[in-house]
Symmetry: C2
Subunit: 241 residues, 2 copies
DNA sequence: ACCTGAACACCGTTCAAGT
DNA sequence: ACCTGAACACCGTTCAAGT
Protein backbone atom coordinates (compact mmCIF):
# COMPACT_ATOMS: atom_id res chain seq x y z
CA UNK A 1 0.00 0.00 0.00
CA UNK A 2 2.93 2.33 0.46
CA UNK A 3 3.53 3.94 -2.91
CA UNK A 4 6.89 5.50 -3.61
CA UNK A 5 6.93 6.66 -7.24
CA UNK A 6 9.48 9.38 -6.66
CA UNK A 7 12.60 7.23 -6.97
CA UNK A 8 15.22 8.42 -9.50
CA UNK A 9 12.99 11.22 -10.76
CA UNK A 10 15.86 13.05 -12.42
CA UNK A 11 16.45 10.35 -15.04
CA UNK A 12 16.04 11.08 -18.76
CA UNK A 13 13.94 7.97 -19.47
CA UNK A 14 11.42 7.81 -16.64
CA UNK A 15 11.70 4.28 -15.32
CA UNK A 16 8.72 3.78 -13.05
CA UNK A 17 8.53 0.41 -11.27
CA UNK A 18 10.47 -2.29 -13.15
CA UNK A 19 11.38 -0.44 -16.28
CA UNK A 20 12.63 -3.28 -18.42
CA UNK A 21 11.06 -6.28 -19.98
CA UNK A 22 12.09 -8.33 -22.96
CA UNK A 23 9.55 -6.94 -25.40
CA UNK A 24 10.54 -3.40 -24.55
CA UNK A 25 14.23 -4.14 -25.09
CA UNK A 26 13.53 -5.75 -28.46
CA UNK A 27 11.40 -2.81 -29.57
CA UNK A 28 14.08 -0.33 -28.54
CA UNK A 29 16.72 -2.37 -30.34
CA UNK A 30 14.70 -2.39 -33.56
CA UNK A 31 14.19 1.36 -33.32
CA UNK A 32 17.89 1.88 -32.80
CA UNK A 33 18.82 -0.36 -35.72
CA UNK A 34 16.32 1.50 -37.90
CA UNK A 35 18.17 4.73 -37.15
CA UNK A 36 21.80 3.61 -36.95
CA UNK A 37 22.02 0.47 -39.03
CA UNK A 38 23.24 -2.89 -37.90
CA UNK A 39 26.92 -1.94 -37.96
CA UNK A 40 26.36 1.01 -35.69
CA UNK A 41 24.24 -0.94 -33.24
CA UNK A 42 25.67 -2.06 -29.90
CA UNK A 43 24.35 -3.36 -26.61
CA UNK A 44 26.09 -0.54 -24.78
CA UNK A 45 24.40 2.10 -26.88
CA UNK A 46 21.06 0.37 -26.45
CA UNK A 47 21.55 0.30 -22.70
CA UNK A 48 22.34 4.02 -22.76
CA UNK A 49 19.05 4.69 -24.53
CA UNK A 50 17.18 2.62 -21.97
CA UNK A 51 18.88 4.33 -19.06
CA UNK A 52 20.43 1.17 -17.63
CA UNK A 53 23.84 -0.46 -17.42
CA UNK A 54 24.75 -2.73 -20.35
CA UNK A 55 24.86 -5.70 -18.05
CA UNK A 56 21.22 -5.26 -17.08
CA UNK A 57 20.21 -6.55 -20.51
CA UNK A 58 21.65 -9.96 -19.68
CA UNK A 59 19.05 -10.60 -17.06
CA UNK A 60 16.28 -10.38 -19.67
CA UNK A 61 18.25 -11.91 -22.54
CA UNK A 62 20.72 -14.47 -21.18
CA UNK A 63 21.89 -15.22 -24.69
CA UNK A 64 23.13 -11.68 -25.10
CA UNK A 65 23.44 -10.05 -28.48
CA UNK A 66 22.49 -13.08 -30.57
CA UNK A 67 19.33 -13.76 -28.65
CA UNK A 68 18.32 -10.13 -28.96
CA UNK A 69 18.94 -10.03 -32.70
CA UNK A 70 17.02 -13.28 -33.11
CA UNK A 71 13.98 -11.67 -31.57
CA UNK A 72 14.43 -8.55 -33.66
CA UNK A 73 14.62 -10.62 -36.84
CA UNK A 74 11.46 -12.53 -35.98
CA UNK A 75 9.41 -9.36 -36.02
CA UNK A 76 9.86 -9.21 -39.79
CA UNK A 77 7.63 -12.29 -40.16
CA UNK A 78 4.75 -10.93 -38.11
CA UNK A 79 1.55 -11.03 -40.11
CA UNK A 80 3.11 -11.78 -43.47
CA UNK A 81 1.09 -14.97 -44.07
CA UNK A 82 -2.65 -14.74 -44.70
CA UNK A 83 -4.97 -17.67 -44.02
CA UNK A 84 -5.24 -20.19 -46.86
CA UNK A 85 -8.55 -21.97 -47.37
CA UNK A 86 -8.97 -25.06 -49.46
CA UNK A 87 -9.93 -23.99 -52.94
CA UNK A 88 -7.97 -20.74 -52.81
CA UNK A 89 -5.58 -20.11 -55.67
CA UNK A 90 -2.07 -21.10 -54.55
CA UNK A 91 -0.36 -18.68 -56.94
CA UNK A 92 -2.28 -15.69 -55.61
CA UNK A 93 -1.50 -16.73 -52.07
CA UNK A 94 2.21 -16.99 -52.82
CA UNK A 95 2.20 -13.64 -54.61
CA UNK A 96 0.69 -12.00 -51.59
CA UNK A 97 3.12 -13.72 -49.21
CA UNK A 98 6.13 -12.54 -51.19
CA UNK A 99 4.85 -9.00 -51.48
CA UNK A 100 3.90 -8.73 -47.83
CA UNK A 101 7.25 -10.08 -46.71
CA UNK A 102 9.05 -7.61 -48.94
CA UNK A 103 6.89 -4.77 -47.69
CA UNK A 104 7.57 -5.73 -44.11
CA UNK A 105 11.32 -5.64 -44.66
CA UNK A 106 11.21 -2.37 -46.52
CA UNK A 107 9.85 -0.84 -43.32
CA UNK A 108 12.97 -2.07 -41.48
CA UNK A 109 15.59 -2.45 -44.21
CA UNK A 110 18.54 -2.49 -41.84
CA UNK A 111 17.61 -5.87 -40.39
CA UNK A 112 17.71 -7.56 -43.80
CA UNK A 113 21.17 -9.07 -43.19
CA UNK A 114 19.84 -10.84 -40.10
CA UNK A 115 17.20 -12.71 -42.05
CA UNK A 116 19.12 -13.77 -45.10
CA UNK A 117 22.52 -14.33 -43.67
CA UNK A 118 22.11 -15.57 -40.10
CA UNK A 119 20.51 -18.78 -38.98
CA UNK A 120 19.84 -17.08 -35.68
CA UNK A 121 16.57 -15.82 -37.08
CA UNK A 122 15.23 -19.35 -36.94
CA UNK A 123 14.77 -19.43 -33.21
CA UNK A 124 12.01 -16.86 -33.14
CA UNK A 125 10.18 -17.88 -36.28
CA UNK A 126 6.62 -19.05 -36.23
CA UNK A 127 6.14 -22.65 -37.40
CA UNK A 128 2.73 -21.54 -38.66
CA UNK A 129 4.45 -20.07 -41.69
CA UNK A 130 6.11 -23.39 -42.46
CA UNK A 131 2.82 -25.25 -42.12
CA UNK A 132 1.04 -22.83 -44.42
CA UNK A 133 3.63 -22.96 -47.18
CA UNK A 134 3.49 -26.76 -47.11
CA UNK A 135 -0.30 -26.66 -47.35
CA UNK A 136 -0.24 -24.27 -50.27
CA UNK A 137 2.38 -26.25 -52.19
CA UNK A 138 0.46 -29.45 -51.69
CA UNK A 139 -2.55 -27.75 -53.20
CA UNK A 140 -0.28 -26.72 -56.09
CA UNK A 141 0.40 -30.36 -56.81
CA UNK A 142 3.58 -31.21 -54.91
CA UNK A 143 3.96 -34.13 -52.53
CA UNK A 144 6.58 -36.35 -50.98
CA UNK A 145 10.28 -35.38 -51.03
CA UNK A 146 9.57 -33.07 -53.93
CA UNK A 147 7.24 -31.05 -51.73
CA UNK A 148 10.12 -30.39 -49.37
CA UNK A 149 12.34 -29.32 -52.23
CA UNK A 150 9.63 -26.97 -53.42
CA UNK A 151 9.28 -25.63 -49.90
CA UNK A 152 12.99 -24.87 -49.78
CA UNK A 153 12.84 -23.21 -53.18
CA UNK A 154 9.96 -21.00 -52.09
CA UNK A 155 11.58 -19.89 -48.84
CA UNK A 156 14.88 -19.20 -50.58
CA UNK A 157 13.08 -17.18 -53.23
CA UNK A 158 11.04 -15.22 -50.72
CA UNK A 159 14.01 -14.24 -48.56
CA UNK A 160 16.71 -14.17 -51.20
CA UNK A 161 15.68 -11.33 -53.45
CA UNK A 162 14.88 -8.95 -50.61
CA UNK A 163 18.06 -9.77 -48.70
CA UNK A 164 20.07 -8.81 -51.76
CA UNK A 165 17.93 -5.82 -52.62
CA UNK A 166 18.40 -4.36 -49.15
CA UNK A 167 22.05 -5.25 -48.67
CA UNK A 168 23.63 -2.28 -46.91
CA UNK A 169 26.19 0.00 -48.44
CA UNK A 170 29.60 0.14 -46.71
CA UNK A 171 29.38 2.28 -43.61
CA UNK A 172 32.29 4.53 -44.50
CA UNK A 173 31.65 7.90 -46.07
CA UNK A 174 28.95 6.75 -48.47
CA UNK A 175 29.10 9.55 -51.01
CA UNK A 176 32.82 9.07 -51.60
CA UNK A 177 32.30 5.40 -52.21
CA UNK A 178 29.34 6.02 -54.52
CA UNK A 179 31.14 8.61 -56.64
CA UNK A 180 34.20 6.42 -57.02
CA UNK A 181 32.11 3.40 -57.89
CA UNK A 182 29.88 5.25 -60.35
CA UNK A 183 32.93 6.56 -62.19
CA UNK A 184 34.38 3.10 -62.58
CA UNK A 185 31.08 1.79 -63.93
CA UNK A 186 30.50 4.61 -66.39
CA UNK A 187 33.99 4.43 -67.85
CA UNK A 188 33.71 0.87 -69.15
CA UNK A 189 34.77 0.15 -72.69
CA UNK A 190 31.80 -0.32 -75.09
CA UNK A 191 33.93 -2.61 -77.24
CA UNK A 192 34.42 -5.06 -74.42
CA UNK A 193 31.03 -4.59 -72.73
CA UNK A 194 28.53 -3.95 -75.54
CA UNK A 195 25.37 -4.95 -73.65
CA UNK A 196 26.35 -3.42 -70.35
CA UNK A 197 27.19 -0.06 -71.89
CA UNK A 198 24.16 -0.14 -74.18
CA UNK A 199 21.85 -0.62 -71.20
CA UNK A 200 23.86 1.58 -68.86
CA UNK A 201 21.12 4.17 -68.31
CA UNK A 202 18.69 1.41 -67.37
CA UNK A 203 21.18 -0.40 -65.15
CA UNK A 204 23.30 2.19 -63.39
CA UNK A 205 22.29 2.17 -59.73
CA UNK A 206 19.23 0.04 -60.58
CA UNK A 207 20.70 -3.42 -61.14
CA UNK A 208 22.67 -5.80 -58.93
CA UNK A 209 26.47 -5.52 -59.06
CA UNK A 210 26.30 -2.18 -60.89
CA UNK A 211 24.48 -0.14 -58.26
CA UNK A 212 25.91 1.96 -55.45
CA UNK A 213 22.82 2.53 -53.36
CA UNK A 214 20.82 0.05 -51.36
CA UNK A 215 17.28 -0.95 -52.28
CA UNK A 216 16.03 0.97 -49.29
CA UNK A 217 16.79 4.16 -51.22
CA UNK A 218 16.32 2.62 -54.64
CA UNK A 219 13.58 -0.03 -54.60
CA UNK A 220 13.81 -2.65 -57.35
CA UNK A 221 10.09 -3.04 -57.90
CA UNK A 222 9.88 -4.28 -61.46
CA UNK A 223 12.79 -6.66 -60.92
CA UNK A 224 11.04 -8.12 -57.93
CA UNK A 225 7.77 -8.56 -59.79
CA UNK A 226 9.42 -10.37 -62.66
CA UNK A 227 11.31 -12.55 -60.20
CA UNK A 228 8.06 -13.39 -58.47
CA UNK A 229 6.35 -14.33 -61.72
CA UNK A 230 9.37 -16.38 -62.73
CA UNK A 231 9.16 -18.44 -59.56
CA UNK A 232 5.41 -18.96 -59.85
CA UNK A 233 5.55 -19.90 -63.52
CA UNK A 234 8.41 -22.24 -62.76
CA UNK A 235 6.59 -23.94 -59.90
CA UNK A 236 3.50 -24.35 -62.07
CA UNK A 237 5.48 -26.09 -64.78
CA UNK A 238 7.24 -28.39 -62.29
CA UNK A 239 4.23 -29.19 -60.13
CA UNK A 240 3.17 -32.15 -62.21
CA UNK A 241 6.65 -33.80 -62.16
CA UNK B 1 74.81 -5.12 -53.88
CA UNK B 2 75.02 -5.38 -50.11
CA UNK B 3 72.72 -8.24 -49.16
CA UNK B 4 71.51 -8.41 -45.58
CA UNK B 5 69.02 -11.25 -45.33
CA UNK B 6 69.62 -11.82 -41.66
CA UNK B 7 67.31 -9.09 -40.37
CA UNK B 8 64.71 -10.18 -37.81
CA UNK B 9 65.67 -13.81 -38.14
CA UNK B 10 63.93 -14.76 -34.91
CA UNK B 11 60.45 -14.04 -36.29
CA UNK B 12 57.87 -16.80 -36.58
CA UNK B 13 56.82 -15.91 -40.17
CA UNK B 14 60.07 -15.27 -42.02
CA UNK B 15 59.57 -11.93 -43.71
CA UNK B 16 62.30 -11.60 -46.28
CA UNK B 17 62.44 -8.27 -48.17
CA UNK B 18 59.00 -6.58 -48.23
CA UNK B 19 56.82 -9.21 -46.70
CA UNK B 20 53.39 -7.81 -47.41
CA UNK B 21 51.41 -7.13 -50.50
CA UNK B 22 47.70 -6.80 -51.03
CA UNK B 23 47.13 -10.20 -52.62
CA UNK B 24 48.96 -11.92 -49.80
CA UNK B 25 46.88 -10.14 -47.17
CA UNK B 26 43.64 -11.07 -48.92
CA UNK B 27 44.70 -14.70 -49.20
CA UNK B 28 45.64 -14.83 -45.52
CA UNK B 29 42.33 -13.23 -44.59
CA UNK B 30 40.36 -15.80 -46.57
CA UNK B 31 42.29 -18.63 -44.96
CA UNK B 32 41.62 -17.18 -41.53
CA UNK B 33 37.91 -16.75 -42.23
CA UNK B 34 37.76 -20.32 -43.50
CA UNK B 35 39.05 -21.50 -40.14
CA UNK B 36 37.47 -19.06 -37.70
CA UNK B 37 34.34 -17.80 -39.40
CA UNK B 38 33.45 -14.23 -40.10
CA UNK B 39 32.46 -13.44 -36.52
CA UNK B 40 35.80 -14.57 -35.18
CA UNK B 41 37.79 -12.72 -37.80
CA UNK B 42 39.61 -9.48 -36.93
CA UNK B 43 42.30 -7.32 -38.43
CA UNK B 44 44.37 -7.64 -35.29
CA UNK B 45 44.31 -11.41 -35.45
CA UNK B 46 45.14 -11.32 -39.15
CA UNK B 47 48.09 -9.03 -38.44
CA UNK B 48 49.30 -11.43 -35.76
CA UNK B 49 49.28 -14.27 -38.30
CA UNK B 50 51.22 -12.16 -40.76
CA UNK B 51 53.76 -11.11 -38.15
CA UNK B 52 53.08 -7.38 -38.44
CA UNK B 53 51.36 -4.65 -36.47
CA UNK B 54 47.64 -4.22 -37.20
CA UNK B 55 48.29 -0.74 -38.52
CA UNK B 56 50.59 -2.06 -41.23
CA UNK B 57 47.56 -3.39 -43.07
CA UNK B 58 46.31 0.14 -43.65
CA UNK B 59 49.17 0.94 -45.94
CA UNK B 60 48.06 -1.78 -48.36
CA UNK B 61 44.33 -1.40 -47.80
CA UNK B 62 43.53 2.22 -47.00
CA UNK B 63 39.83 1.38 -46.74
CA UNK B 64 40.54 -0.93 -43.83
CA UNK B 65 38.29 -3.82 -42.97
CA UNK B 66 35.61 -3.14 -45.59
CA UNK B 67 38.06 -2.92 -48.44
CA UNK B 68 39.68 -6.15 -47.35
CA UNK B 69 36.37 -7.99 -47.09
CA UNK B 70 35.36 -6.64 -50.49
CA UNK B 71 38.41 -8.24 -52.03
CA UNK B 72 37.80 -11.46 -50.15
CA UNK B 73 34.22 -11.60 -51.39
CA UNK B 74 35.28 -11.03 -54.98
CA UNK B 75 37.29 -14.23 -54.99
CA UNK B 76 34.04 -16.19 -54.88
CA UNK B 77 33.27 -15.08 -58.44
CA UNK B 78 36.56 -16.16 -59.92
CA UNK B 79 36.01 -18.50 -62.84
CA UNK B 80 32.32 -19.12 -62.26
CA UNK B 81 31.23 -17.95 -65.72
CA UNK B 82 32.16 -19.98 -68.78
CA UNK B 83 32.34 -18.45 -72.23
CA UNK B 84 29.02 -18.24 -74.09
CA UNK B 85 29.04 -18.58 -77.86
CA UNK B 86 26.15 -17.62 -80.09
CA UNK B 87 24.06 -20.69 -80.63
CA UNK B 88 24.81 -22.19 -77.22
CA UNK B 89 21.82 -23.20 -75.12
CA UNK B 90 21.08 -20.41 -72.64
CA UNK B 91 19.46 -22.79 -70.11
CA UNK B 92 22.50 -25.05 -69.98
CA UNK B 93 24.75 -22.05 -69.57
CA UNK B 94 22.68 -20.73 -66.65
CA UNK B 95 22.59 -24.14 -65.03
CA UNK B 96 26.33 -24.33 -65.12
CA UNK B 97 26.73 -20.79 -63.82
CA UNK B 98 24.49 -21.48 -60.82
CA UNK B 99 26.18 -24.75 -60.00
CA UNK B 100 29.67 -23.36 -60.33
CA UNK B 101 28.85 -20.38 -58.13
CA UNK B 102 27.35 -22.66 -55.51
CA UNK B 103 30.34 -24.96 -55.66
CA UNK B 104 32.70 -22.03 -55.29
CA UNK B 105 30.93 -20.84 -52.16
CA UNK B 106 30.77 -24.30 -50.65
CA UNK B 107 34.57 -24.21 -50.68
CA UNK B 108 34.47 -21.04 -48.57
CA UNK B 109 31.10 -21.15 -46.83
CA UNK B 110 32.02 -18.62 -44.18
CA UNK B 111 32.15 -15.75 -46.64
CA UNK B 112 28.56 -16.30 -47.78
CA UNK B 113 27.19 -13.43 -45.66
CA UNK B 114 29.52 -11.02 -47.44
CA UNK B 115 28.06 -11.80 -50.84
CA UNK B 116 24.39 -11.90 -50.07
CA UNK B 117 24.11 -9.30 -47.40
CA UNK B 118 26.72 -6.65 -48.09
CA UNK B 119 26.92 -4.33 -51.05
CA UNK B 120 30.61 -4.08 -50.39
CA UNK B 121 31.13 -7.12 -52.57
CA UNK B 122 30.29 -5.01 -55.59
CA UNK B 123 33.54 -3.13 -55.68
CA UNK B 124 35.64 -6.11 -56.59
CA UNK B 125 33.27 -7.82 -58.98
CA UNK B 126 34.12 -8.43 -62.57
CA UNK B 127 31.85 -6.61 -65.03
CA UNK B 128 32.46 -9.52 -67.40
CA UNK B 129 29.93 -11.52 -65.44
CA UNK B 130 27.31 -8.82 -65.92
CA UNK B 131 28.00 -8.65 -69.64
CA UNK B 132 27.73 -12.39 -70.02
CA UNK B 133 24.43 -12.72 -68.20
CA UNK B 134 22.97 -9.96 -70.37
CA UNK B 135 24.17 -11.73 -73.50
CA UNK B 136 22.69 -15.03 -72.42
CA UNK B 137 19.33 -13.53 -71.47
CA UNK B 138 19.10 -11.70 -74.78
CA UNK B 139 19.62 -15.01 -76.50
CA UNK B 140 16.82 -16.40 -74.32
CA UNK B 141 14.45 -13.83 -75.79
CA UNK B 142 14.57 -10.87 -73.40
CA UNK B 143 15.20 -7.29 -74.45
CA UNK B 144 14.66 -3.72 -73.30
CA UNK B 145 13.67 -2.95 -69.70
CA UNK B 146 12.46 -6.51 -69.31
CA UNK B 147 15.97 -7.76 -69.97
CA UNK B 148 17.19 -5.77 -66.98
CA UNK B 149 14.42 -7.18 -64.79
CA UNK B 150 15.38 -10.67 -65.92
CA UNK B 151 19.02 -9.90 -65.15
CA UNK B 152 18.09 -8.85 -61.63
CA UNK B 153 15.99 -11.95 -61.18
CA UNK B 154 18.85 -14.18 -62.29
CA UNK B 155 21.44 -12.56 -60.03
CA UNK B 156 19.08 -12.63 -57.06
CA UNK B 157 18.35 -16.29 -57.72
CA UNK B 158 22.00 -17.22 -58.13
CA UNK B 159 23.15 -15.54 -54.94
CA UNK B 160 19.99 -15.90 -52.87
CA UNK B 161 19.67 -19.62 -52.39
CA UNK B 162 23.31 -20.15 -51.51
CA UNK B 163 23.42 -17.21 -49.12
CA UNK B 164 20.53 -18.72 -47.20
CA UNK B 165 21.83 -22.27 -47.46
CA UNK B 166 25.17 -21.26 -45.95
CA UNK B 167 23.89 -18.83 -43.34
CA UNK B 168 26.03 -19.39 -40.26
CA UNK B 169 24.78 -20.84 -37.02
CA UNK B 170 25.06 -18.60 -33.93
CA UNK B 171 28.61 -18.60 -32.66
CA UNK B 172 27.76 -19.51 -29.09
CA UNK B 173 28.06 -23.09 -27.94
CA UNK B 174 26.55 -24.68 -31.04
CA UNK B 175 25.52 -28.04 -29.62
CA UNK B 176 23.50 -26.46 -26.83
CA UNK B 177 21.65 -24.32 -29.31
CA UNK B 178 21.04 -27.24 -31.67
CA UNK B 179 19.67 -29.54 -28.98
CA UNK B 180 17.35 -26.89 -27.62
CA UNK B 181 16.15 -26.01 -31.08
CA UNK B 182 15.64 -29.62 -32.18
CA UNK B 183 13.55 -30.31 -29.09
CA UNK B 184 11.26 -27.39 -29.80
CA UNK B 185 10.78 -28.53 -33.38
CA UNK B 186 10.10 -32.15 -32.57
CA UNK B 187 7.55 -31.39 -29.89
CA UNK B 188 5.11 -29.59 -32.17
CA UNK B 189 1.44 -30.56 -32.00
CA UNK B 190 0.34 -32.73 -34.97
CA UNK B 191 -3.18 -31.34 -34.63
CA UNK B 192 -2.02 -27.81 -35.28
CA UNK B 193 0.81 -28.64 -37.70
CA UNK B 194 -0.35 -31.67 -39.69
CA UNK B 195 1.93 -31.22 -42.70
CA UNK B 196 4.98 -30.15 -40.75
CA UNK B 197 4.76 -33.09 -38.36
CA UNK B 198 3.93 -35.52 -41.16
CA UNK B 199 7.05 -34.51 -43.07
CA UNK B 200 9.21 -34.03 -39.99
CA UNK B 201 11.73 -36.75 -40.83
CA UNK B 202 12.24 -35.24 -44.26
CA UNK B 203 12.44 -31.68 -42.97
CA UNK B 204 14.22 -31.74 -39.62
CA UNK B 205 17.63 -30.16 -40.14
CA UNK B 206 17.14 -30.33 -43.91
CA UNK B 207 14.72 -27.49 -44.61
CA UNK B 208 14.86 -23.73 -44.06
CA UNK B 209 13.50 -22.43 -40.75
CA UNK B 210 13.41 -25.93 -39.24
CA UNK B 211 17.11 -26.75 -39.40
CA UNK B 212 19.81 -26.18 -36.83
CA UNK B 213 22.91 -26.74 -38.91
CA UNK B 214 24.27 -24.68 -41.75
CA UNK B 215 24.36 -25.91 -45.34
CA UNK B 216 28.11 -26.23 -45.06
CA UNK B 217 27.53 -29.30 -42.88
CA UNK B 218 24.21 -30.21 -44.42
CA UNK B 219 24.12 -29.37 -48.13
CA UNK B 220 20.66 -28.86 -49.62
CA UNK B 221 21.39 -30.41 -52.99
CA UNK B 222 17.96 -31.51 -54.17
CA UNK B 223 16.39 -28.27 -52.97
CA UNK B 224 18.92 -26.31 -54.96
CA UNK B 225 18.35 -28.36 -58.09
CA UNK B 226 14.59 -27.90 -57.96
CA UNK B 227 15.09 -24.20 -57.33
CA UNK B 228 17.34 -23.99 -60.34
CA UNK B 229 14.86 -25.77 -62.59
CA UNK B 230 12.09 -23.55 -61.25
CA UNK B 231 13.96 -20.42 -62.27
CA UNK B 232 14.85 -21.75 -65.70
CA UNK B 233 11.33 -22.99 -66.43
CA UNK B 234 9.96 -19.67 -65.23
CA UNK B 235 12.31 -17.64 -67.41
CA UNK B 236 11.45 -19.79 -70.40
CA UNK B 237 7.75 -19.16 -69.96
CA UNK B 238 8.24 -15.41 -69.49
CA UNK B 239 10.81 -14.90 -72.23
CA UNK B 240 8.24 -14.29 -74.92
CA UNK B 241 6.34 -11.69 -72.84
C1' DA C 1 57.82 3.16 -49.53
C1' DC C 2 56.68 0.50 -45.86
C1' DC C 3 56.16 -0.41 -41.17
C1' DT C 4 56.31 0.52 -35.89
C1' DG C 5 54.26 2.20 -31.70
C1' DA C 6 51.28 4.61 -28.88
C1' DA C 7 46.87 6.19 -28.26
C1' DC C 8 41.64 6.82 -28.78
C1' DA C 9 37.17 5.49 -28.38
C1' DC C 10 34.93 1.90 -28.38
C1' DC C 11 33.06 -3.36 -28.02
C1' DG C 12 30.42 -8.10 -25.66
C1' DT C 13 30.41 -10.67 -21.64
C1' DT C 14 31.37 -12.58 -16.74
C1' DC C 15 30.91 -12.23 -12.08
C1' DA C 16 30.22 -10.46 -7.63
C1' DA C 17 27.66 -7.29 -5.15
C1' DG C 18 23.79 -4.46 -3.95
C1' DT C 19 18.57 -3.78 -2.96
C1' DA D 1 13.83 -10.55 -8.96
C1' DC D 2 16.21 -7.10 -11.03
C1' DC D 3 19.93 -4.12 -11.53
C1' DT D 4 24.67 -1.85 -10.43
C1' DG D 5 29.62 -1.63 -10.88
C1' DA D 6 34.02 -3.10 -11.80
C1' DA D 7 36.81 -5.77 -14.57
C1' DC D 8 38.53 -8.69 -18.65
C1' DA D 9 39.90 -9.35 -23.05
C1' DC D 10 39.19 -7.69 -26.88
C1' DC D 11 37.99 -4.43 -31.26
C1' DG D 12 38.93 -0.79 -35.85
C1' DT D 13 41.21 3.27 -36.90
C1' DT D 14 44.15 7.73 -36.60
C1' DC D 15 48.26 9.78 -36.42
C1' DA D 16 53.09 10.62 -35.72
C1' DA D 17 57.39 8.59 -35.88
C1' DG D 18 60.95 5.56 -37.45
C1' DT D 19 63.94 3.42 -41.36
Amino acid sequence: MTKKPKKRRGRPELRTENALDRAQIVAAALALIDREGLEGFSLRQLARHLGVFPTALYWHLPGGRNELLGDVAATAFHNVARPFKLGDDWASWLRELFRRYRHSLHRHPNIAPLLGAQLVSNSGVNPDLVEQILTVLESAGFSGPRLIDAYNAVVAAMLGFVTLELAPVPDEDPTDWAVKFEDSIRSLDPGHFPHLTKYMNLMANRAFIVRWESGSRNPMNSGFELYLETVIAGLRSLAGG
